[in-house]
């Protein structure tokens, strides 16, 4: 038997799914947490399969995740549809319900958020709703686990097709009228307290100044906590693994295990995995913060704030969620980009997300600033800043090449703010830890062993600790020519860049396994910085590339993405190296060049000003003889009666439109 959960976005399908199947799928307080269908067994009866589908508003799909559902419903033989409705949003949910009834399949309706309804003094007449729809209706609360046993009881009831034959024959256009006729009988609602509070808090959260202020404040807290606490816990973890490694080595040597095996264990496996595990704390702290923000509904406010800026770069305000998630991992960032309806904005978001330094890249940053740059937090922050600036520069370039009308618009739901549940945050942490351990247990484990093998064997056989004669060195020497302009003069660094393609964490791990003399790896801090910058921007790990290909649905676009990233990485690193070379030449010379450039730019601006002057009346243009006396908002009609805003100039009391 197959039961599938269908409903609007953010109505609690996944919470219900988690309860029914006792699994721990991620839940969040924004539309689009579930972007692919998931299947699980009903916990109390393994013969029943439960399918969790992405949320949708109607059966005419507008975004890819909605298409998943429609295709699923059309192509599968289903035994039962469980339509989940957000009780606080019944009218909207019923539109989908009536569309589903038209399919004439066995279904039952679960009105969720019974606890919210009570809290908000909304009374819902289940009996009336049952009569209207002609299918079983259950009032539940997936979060508070109310009415769920009753719901499960209905799974076995035969033939729950709608008894209201009139509804089945309704056309889509009639559905709204039908709902409107009935809705007042079913639900008594008033503007609720939480809604009023949300409205008040939103005044601040979405404020043009305070909104950004709070955003910066929140992000500062998140990142400083992640870096400081994560760094501390990471160091502790390295210490513990070091001890275990020593103990194992001693024990093995005592038992008479040969030296090569012990070396593989200590220098390959333990060193590699240890360096990777050391940033597990970073990731976990980051993800708990992100889950907290998602669950509370804050991320939707951030999307609102940023839409104004982002839309200028052919991005959507909704790109903020993928971008912010990318600070944790580009894979989850790219997955989250599915909520963006607009194809262009979605593709740009996918291509740009890897420019955000992910958790692994953050670890590289931390390790580098500790090893080579004297533990400078400032440089790490500078790298963050550079990466965000570059992201927008590339976005601007994308926009130049990609012109056209935006016909899909932008609709963003702002969910009612609520306090997140600790349990949900913990379940996300559990999933992330598991994913991470599996990754470090497979990919990173394999990389560790391959690097160890390549560095301990050469054309002349076993080289043991002497990596000078190894295969790895030959590889690195070859790559050196490619990276020479960037200042990577040692073969070890070139090899580690290559290993970074499998997983960014491997860069640190490879350098650790090779046990290079860190003082001689880079001849100047600028070269170290250049190396760091290259790894920040160069094509991401295979996992990200795989998911990007899946979402872009085109190999051509994937190569475009890789090409852009490689070019940007190369250029930025080259620039940093160049600056390093120039600075190390002569400070006085640099200063004079710098002053010269400033003077030149200033001079150019001055000329521009003299030529045009400032308009004294309105300060909106720079014309000398400006006849504009008063700028008024005016709207110009375009096309089918729609209009756009233009500025009017008022001359002699008569209005003329002029952009």
């Amino acid at each position: 038997m197959r039961v599938c959960l269908v409903g609007n976005p953010n109505c609690g399908k996944t919470t219900l799914f988690n309860y029914l199947t006792h699994s721990y799928q991620k839940v969040g307080n924004w539309a689009g947490v579930t972007v692919d269908s998931k299947v699980g067994d009903l916990f109390y009866d393994r013969s029943v399969k439960v399918v969790d589908l992405p949320g949708l508003y109607s059966l005419s799909p507008t975004s890819p995740d909605e298409k998943v559902v429609v295709d699923y419903l059309k192509n599968n033989a289903l035994d039962l549809i469980v339509n989940v409705i957000d009780g606080t949003n019944l009218e909207r949910g019923l539109y989908l319900t009536l569309s589903l009834i038209k399919l004439n399949l066995p279904m039952l309706v679960a009105v969720n958020m019974a606890d919210e309804l009570r809290k908000n003094d909304i009374s819902l007449n289940v009996k009336k709703l049952k009569e209207f729809l002609g299918v079983p209706v259950v009032l539940i609360s997936a979060r508070a686990k109310e009415g769920l046993k009753e719901l499960e009881g209905f799974f076995k009831v035969e033939n729950t097709r709608s008894k209201n034959k009139k509804l089945v024959s309704l056309s889509f256009a009639q559905i709204h009228n039908e709902i409107e006729k009935e809705i007042d009988k079913i639900i008594q609602k008033k503007i609720t307290l939480t809604q009023k509070n949300t409205e008040k808090i939103d005044k601040v959260l979405t404020h043009g100044f305070w909104g950004f202020f709070i955003f910066i404040l929140v992000m500062t807290i998140v990142f400083s906590f992640t870096l400081k606490l994560g760094g501390y816990l990471g160091d502790e973890l390295i210490g513990v693994i070091g001890k275990i490694s020593d103990l194992t080595a001693n024990f093995a040597l005592k038992k008479g295990v040969n030296f090569a095996t012990v070396s593989l264990l200590v220098d390959g496996v333990f060193k590699g995995i240890g360096s990777v595990l050391s940033f597990l704390p970073h990731l976990l702290i980051m993800f708990s913060f992100m889950t907290f923000l998602e669950e509370s509904g804050y991320t939707a406010r951030v999307s609102f704030l940023f839409d104004k800026i982002f839309s200028r770069f052919n991005l959507s305000g909704k790109s903020v969620i993928p971008f912010v998630l990318s600070f944790g991992c580009s894979v989850s960032g790219i997955e989250a980009s599915k909520v963006i309806e607009n194809r262009k904005e979605r593709e740009a978001t996918i291509m740009l997300a890897p420019f955000i330094p992910c958790g692994a890249k953050m670890a590289i940053l931390g390790w580098f600033s500790y090893r080579f740059l004297g533990g400078s937090v400032l440089l790490a922050l500078l790298s963050y800043f550079i990466s965000i600036v570059i992201l927008f520069l590339v976005a601007k370039i994308f926009k130049k090449f990609d012109k056209g009308e935006n016909s899909e618009g932008f609709i963003l739901e702002l969910p009612v703010l609520r306090l997140p549940r600790l349990k949900n945050i913990l379940s996300v942490l559990f999933i992330k830890t598991k994913e991470f351990l599996i990754k470090s247990g497979t990919v990173i484990f394999a990389v560790s062993i391959v690097v160890w093998l390549l560095s301990n064997f050469g054309p002349n056989g076993i080289t043991y600790k002497n990596a000078e004669n190894s295969f790895l060195r030959l590889l690195g020497e070859g790559l050196k020519y490619l990276f020479y302009p960037l200042g990577f003069s040692s073969w070890e660094s070139c090899v580690s860049v290559l290993s970074g393609l499998l997983a960014k964490e491997s860069i640190v791990e490879t350098l650790e396994i090779l046990s290079v003399d860190f003082d001689s790896l880079f001849s100047s801090p600028y070269k170290a910085f250049s190396f760091m910058a290259f790894n920040l921007f160069c094509p991401p790990c295979v996992a990200t590339l795989a998911i990007a290909k899946r979402e872009l649905k085109s190999v051509k676009k994937l190569f475009k993405m890789i090409g852009v990233e490689f070019a940007v990485a190369y250029l930025v690193s080259f620039g940093i190296n160049l600056i390093g070379i120039i600075i190390s030449l002569d400070i006085g010379l640099i200063l004079s060049i710098f002053i010269g450039i400033i003077l030149l730019v200033g001079f150019a601006f001055a000329i521009k000003r003299i030529g045009k002057g400032d308009c004294q009346d309105c300060k909106k243009c720079r014309k000398v003889n400006c006849e504009i006396q008063n700028h008024v908002r005016l709207y110009e009609r375009i096309g089918n009666g729609a209009r756009r805003r233009v500025f009017s100039r008022r001359v002699d009391g008569r209005e003329k439109t002029n952009l």
Binding site: E199, G208, D307, S407, L412, R645
Partner: protein, 73 residues
Amino acid sequence: MFLSEIESGKYCVIVNVLVSEKLRGRLFELGVKKGEKIKVVRESYKNSPIIILVKNTFFAIREEDANKIEVKE
């Protein structure tokens, strides 16, 4: 009168939705349709999106789209 001209806190009734076919369908599903009474929670500030309250849910839409929704007070 258009939705973008309504001040914060005021209610209005939708007269006509003049956006592209695709967007109109989506707005329709959410309840932004002819005859619906909605509240403008926040008007546009320097081209930021506006926030509206439709059927007990807050939505943000871009000003350029709000400029294509005809309303009366």
